[in-house]
């Protein structure tokens, strides 16, 4: 059924058994205060999701306040790093509330261990989780305002219209602002169930609203962690071993302490030796040198004057608490090299891997195949390179600690911090600042603990700042991967077998239930992780950010071998997965997958592009959303240059259109930049690149001439957008570069600097 003609209004309960998701009351100073649960509400599909909700009363961790002045405040409990949540979340509230957009402001909530279990920005989940909560709160407030007006005016509630923060009863010519009715509304009973709007009648959602923080950004207001100031604050920097596999032995600390402006210099540990790490405690260098002083420059000079002795670490095994499961992690000793990494991955690929999924009979399918193609794809380590280097403020407060700065996942660091300082979790106060980029890096916030330990040692508030060199060489990189794919075509050029094998340091990137699983009768997915002492972590669309490259470059080559158009070839596979799927664990919706391919085909005019246009296509599914990219490449002075990009996304309902487009444009540019230039290499454990002089990032002169972004129009609740457009950029570019250069690309980065002749 076409959603445009369907009525998509729905009802939502505000409680389930003993669990209530919403509580309304009078605000201090008059007005209506609605406390609501953020991230945990029943779905409008009914109580189906109830099983996922803990059967106990829980804290209402977000609020909506309508003051008698008419000012509306929404508290947004997610850290902001550029996804524009501070604007899109209030848009959802305002939609259901029928509020005047200009009267709404968003506030950033600080961290409270008990209240915000889902206070995490990452995995493109923020909007997805907040969607129902915000709609419930907005609709409830609107309901109570109307009830209050009905009682005051003695008219039926059904005759009252709410629009633009105004209540109107046309028949009796009565009118009131939300502000004037807010106190009365706070006396109304909290509705047990509220009506949500028909998604087709949204007036604000799907439109564009300006970034609420825009003015502060363009005038240079202190929004970021690195801007944090406090009375008596000292500046701290750290020095870590130059190579992975080494630790600190000693340093000329006495000389450093004598330098001008230096308060203290010492060696410290950011984790107790017996501490059991959690999944986000990744850290190659828990033993560091701290230098603390009055001024940043003096501390930087002292850091340059530091002379330290390092020693090699031997192999060790740690246990890690991976979300409640205890796993053992081997950290080899030794100084690793990029060239050895390549060999190790090839060796692993030649050996036995873990079978992740097998459908049909892969061996006989290959034995009897007409054509067999096998290719191997390689990915380097990548550094996140957020433009704001890691930093954090810390101040010991009696029996607790106040910390402030940029982080994506407070929930994962509180135990680490409590354990290291020997305090209880309740005494931790985390203040969020705006983040100067995240890309996954700030989910690993060891720097927060480092700041706190330093503050404790020097008995003063401290702002820890990483230099760019510290930031780039301390690890937590996108892993280095190798993926081998082998496929068989029958005599009608139909794909009959697909065998994907992935290895990586120190994780592989195979998602066994992703496309083309489900579309091929004989399918085998295998993977294996190889131990390394170089630390890795989540990077924009983890694992997908390389698997898309391997898979979608390979499919392009297969389509060519089959003599088919690359979009037709993919659509035929998706059609198969839709009508007659192989296996029942496939984690994608083939129709939505095909939808983005069809949309990008139409918008790029794919079929009508002249033969001389070098074009590439790719599509991928991750983080619950679907993305397809078409890229065209031109030759300029012998070098290929990206010309046009067409993006098609299916991320359900788009909340703030222009901001969504901005995010996709950013993902496209980030993808092109990393595909062409992104690479970290190692020599004897030492990262070969330390700053932007050698680590090349995309600049304005390398950006495409145009990026044309389109969204599939549907009424599915919003899904992720920060990550999904990113992975398919790499293979779309590789496929276009192949057209331009006549050579397939198997190794990232794709740009190879010309050797001086």
């Amino acid at each position: 059924m076409n959603s445009a003609t369907q009525n998509l209004a729905s009802k939502l309960k505000t409680s389930l058994g003993r669990r209530s998701f919403l509580k309304a009351g009078a605000a201090a100073g008059g007005g209506l205060m609605i406390n609501f649960s953020w991230g945990v509400v029943p779905t409008d599909a009914g109580d189906a999701a109830a099983g996922m909700i803990p059967d106990q009363p829980f804290e209402l961790n977000a609020y909506l306040l309508i003051a008698s002045s008419g000012e509306i405040t929404a508290m947004v409990p997610n850290p902001e790093f550029g996804q524009n949540l501070m604007t899109s979340m209030p848009m959802i509230l305002a939609e259901e509330l029928d509020a005047d957009w200009k009267s709404i402001t968003a506030k950033q909530a600080n961290y409270d261990a008990r209240a915000y279990e889902r206070q995490f920005t990452g995995g493109s989940q923020s909007i997805r989780r907040a969607w129902q909560s915000l709609r419930m709160a907005g609709a409830s407030a609107r309901h109570m305002l109307i009830q209050a007006a009905a009682q005051q005016w003695q008219v039926p509630a059904g005759e009252i219209a709410a629009k633009n923060s105004t209540l109107t009863h046309a028949k009796s010519d009565k009118q009131s602002s939300y502000g004037a009715m807010a106190a009365a509304a706070s006396q109304m009973p909290t509705p047990a169930e509220v009506n949500l709007k028909d998604k087709n009648s949204f007036k604000l959602i799907g439109k564009s609203r300006h970034n609420q923080e825009g003015q502060k950004i363009v005038t240079g207001q202190p929004l970021f962690g690195i801007d944090y100031q406090a009375e008596g604050m000292k500046i701290a920097m750290i020095e870590h071993p130059p190579a992975f596999g080494k630790t600190i032995e000693s340093a000329n600390l006495d000389e450093i302490k004598k330098m001008s402006g230096i308060v203290d210099a010492f060696i410290f540990e950011s984790m107790k030796p017996d501490y059991q790490k959690n999944y986000f405690d990744t850290n190659a260098f828990p033993r560091l040198i701290a230098i603390v002083g009055d001024k940043t420059w003096q501390v930087m000079k002292a850091k340059k004057a530091l002379k330290a002795q390092w020693k090699d670490l031997s192999s060790r095994t740690e246990t890690m608490n991976a979300f409640g499961r205890e796993v053992s992690v081997t950290i080899p000793g030794g100084l690793e090299n990029t060239t050895d990494h390549g060999k190790k991955m090839d060796q692993a690929l030649a050996g036995k891997l873990d079978t992740l999924r097998e459908d049909g009979d892969v061996k006989s399918a290959f034995d009897s195949a007409e054509t067999v193609i096998e290719r191997t794809y390689r990915a380097p380590y990548l550094a996140h390179n957020t433009l704001e280097p890691m930093n954090f403020f810390a101040q010991i407060t009696g029996d607790g600690v106040h910390v402030a700065g940029p982080l994506q996942a407070p929930v994962f660091i509180q135990d680490t911090l409590a354990s290291r300082l020997g305090i209880v979790k309740d005494k931790i106060h985390i203040e969020f600042t705006r983040m100067g980029g995240g890309f996954g890096r700030r989910a690993y916030s060891h720097y927060l603990v480092e700041a706190a330990v330093i503050a404790k040692q020097v008995k003063a508030p401290v702002k820890l700042i990483y230099s760019r060199e510290d930031d780039m060489t301390m690890g937590i990189y996108r892993p280095s991967y190798t993926v081998r794919i082998k496929a068989a075509l029958d005599k009608d050029n139909k794909l009959v077998a697909y065998h994907v094998s992935g290895v990586g340091l120190a994780e592989h990137c195979v998602h066994e239930n992703r496309f083309p699983a489900g579309a091929v009768d004989n399918y085998l997915a295998e993977g294996k992780a190889i131990d390394s002492n170089i630390t890795i972590g989540a990077f924009r669309a983890p694992r997908s950010n390389f698997m898309a490259s391997a898979e979608q470059s390979f499919l392009d080559e297969l389509a060519e071998a089959a003599g088919e158009d690359p979009i037709d070839f993919r659509l035929a596979l998706l059609e198969r997965a839709k009508n007659n799927p192989v296996g029942d664990n496939n984690d994608y919706d083939p129709a939505r997958y095909a939808g983005v391919l069809k949309l990008v085909r139409e918008k790029s005019d794919w079929d009508a592009m002249p033969n001389t246009t070098h074009k590439g296509v790719a599509a991928y599914f991750c983080h619950n959303s679907y993305a397809a990219q078409v890229i065209t490449v031109k030759r300029r002075e012998g070098e290929p240059k990206v010309d046009k990009v067409y993006s098609a996304l299916d991320c359900g309902i788009v909340v703030n259109k222009d901001s969504a487009i901005n995010m996709v444009e950013g993902a496209v540019i980030d993808g092109i930049g990393n595909a062409l230039f992104g690479e970290m290499t190692f020599t004897n454990g030492v990262p070969d690149k330390k700053n932007f002089d050698r680590y090349r990032l995309i600049r304005m002169n390398e950006m495409p001439n145009s990026i044309d972004v389109h969204f599939v129009d549907n009424s599915i609740d919003p899904t992720g957008l920060g990550e999904p457009p990113f992975p398919p950029v790499f293979p779309a570019l590789a496929n276009a570069l192949y057209q331009a250069q006549g050579e397939r690309l198997y190794q990232q980065p794709y740009f190879k600097p010309k050797k001086p002749s």
């Binding site: 001024k295 420059w297 433009l387 540019i669 002169n701």
Partner: protein
């Protein structure tokens, strides 16, 4: 420690700093003008861009001892009410994502327009290629500069 009198955002300020202290850290640590950002410290990213006598410079690599009588303008002093045509255009296009690079981008753009009221694509690209935006907002930066040039 030497002392300097510097003219920053049309105000004379006395500061004390080591001669080799980069202007960036004088602004951020001594004057609490933190709109100017630290990104790389080696003149590669443009996050620290300010105007010295109207020209865009990288303040992380400009020692305070070289300041002399020069006039410094930072993002905080680009306009009195945050309504410089470049700032307005930035808001119109909602350029920022994380926003960290944007003060530097705006300062580079404002210096470009002060010298070339009607820059073409090539002039914009060459003036702006020293400013990295890790979030990839280059397209909007370019559009905003063109709009600011018209006003």
């Amino acid at each position: 420690m030497p002392t300097y009198t510097v003219t920053i955002n049309e105000q004379k300020r006395n500061i004390e700093a080591d001669a080799d202290t980069p202007l960036l850290w004088v602004l951020r640590d001594e004057l609490q003008l933190v709109g100017t950002k630290f990104g790389c410290g080696i003149a590669q990213c443009g996050a620290c861009t300010v105007h010295v006598n109207g020209s865009a410079i990288r303040s992380c690599s400009f020692p305070i001892s070289a300041i002399g009588e020069s006039k410094v303008t930072t993002i905080e002093g680009l306009s009195e009410n945050g309504d410089h045509p470049v700032q307005q255009a930035w808001l119109e296009y909602d350029v920022a994502q994380c926003g960290y690079c944007q003060a530097g981008q705006i300062m580079s753009a404002a210096a470009l327009l002060a010298q070339n009221a009607n820059p073409d694509d090539a002039a914009i690209t060459s003036a702006m290629s020293g400013n990295i935006c890790r979030c990839g907002t280059y397209g909007r930066i370019k559009s905003a500069i063109k709009t600011a040039a018209k006003s």
